[in-house]
Subunit: 195 residues, 2 copies
């Protein structure tokens, strides 16, 4: 076993884990496979991630964080009024999920399995609903939205758009009608929030 040329960072381990999961599937992938892909001992991997479960949880968290970062950018960078920002945010969430499901279906299916094992999905949903709440509160401050309970409204917007972000609907996301359905739901929700 030759020592790796680059230092063994958590990021490199997570990248290799994603590759191994894609190749072998979540049922068969082992820490030994990850170590072999990196040309290191499995002990070196365990120094960064103490258990196989911790490694799997970290790789799922990384996958979800990528989507969160794209959404945070809209939340903070955009100077648009809240209704336009909220629409853009929902479009970006849908696009991100649709691309993940369509471009690499094996990896997407793998992540669905991993998410069933972990609590990171709950943290992800809390983060997304929190971002929705921020935009709704902005809209109330701007006088664009009339909402009594922004937290409940944020959860309602998240629930009402499940068809466009819940992996249970991934099979529908390649259908031609889905874009019009997304627009109809988003229009209706934005009208419902409006002052």
């Amino acid at each position: 076993m030759t020592p790796p040329s680059d230092p063994l960072t958590p990021e490199r381990i997570l990248e290799a884990t994603e590759d191994v999961l894609r190749r072998y599937g979540p049922a068969k992938a082992t820490v030994v496979d990850v170590a072999r892909a990196l040309g290191v001992s499995h002990g070196s991997v365990y120094r960064h991630f103490r258990t196989k479960a911790a490694l799997r949880e970290a790789v799922t968290g990384r996958w979800l964080t990528r989507t969160e970062l794209a959404l945070t950018e809209i939340l903070h960078a955009s100077a648009q009024p809240a209704p336009a920002k909220l629409r853009k945010w929902l479009e970006t969430l849908f696009e991100a999920k649709r691309h993940k499901a369509g471009d690499d279906p094996e990896l997407f299916a793998t992540y669905e399995v991993l998410m069933g094992e972990s609590t990171v999905i709950e943290k992800h949903i809390r983060e997304l609903v929190g971002q929705l709440r921020e935009m709704i509160e902005e809209g109330v401050t701007e006088g664009q939205f009339a909402v009594d309970d922004p937290a409940a409204a944020a959860q309602a917007v998240f629930d009402a758009t499940a068809r466009f972000h819940d992996p249970a609907y991934a099979a529908d996301w390649q259908k031609p009608a889905i874009a019009a359905e997304f627009t109809a739901v988003t229009d209706l929700l934005l009208r419902g929030l409006r002052a």
Copy 2:
């Protein structure tokens, strides 16, 4: 084999099929099991339902029709204004699905498998979206709703409430928070339809 005392009606066959499905599960239940439960030959069953697939489709259709009938009643019997009627209709749909899932989980799981094999679910969804459209059109006539495209709005209301009728979410329907979530989504949608 003793001849049955009652005439062998399609309804009796469908009832027996539901029992057999509940007992053996969808993978194992056969037409012979249904015939045995009724004390008739399997030929007698086939005289009413020409294939096993036709029998399974009929039993699924009957199961879905029960929900449709309760909803049709609200649609036609109620003298309430459209917004109240639409809310009542959504509550009834959610209650019907939740009871089916909660009272008899094996049978519910069985129907989920059967629906995957059949096109009756598409007919069911068309029926439900059609009823929603009727209520939205009523609301427009009454001046309660302002909607340009009632068909698209009906589909949007159906899509946005998926969490409260799609069997994919059945596990969430027994959670305490679900009632408040249902109310928040319904309020938001009704506000979105409002003139």
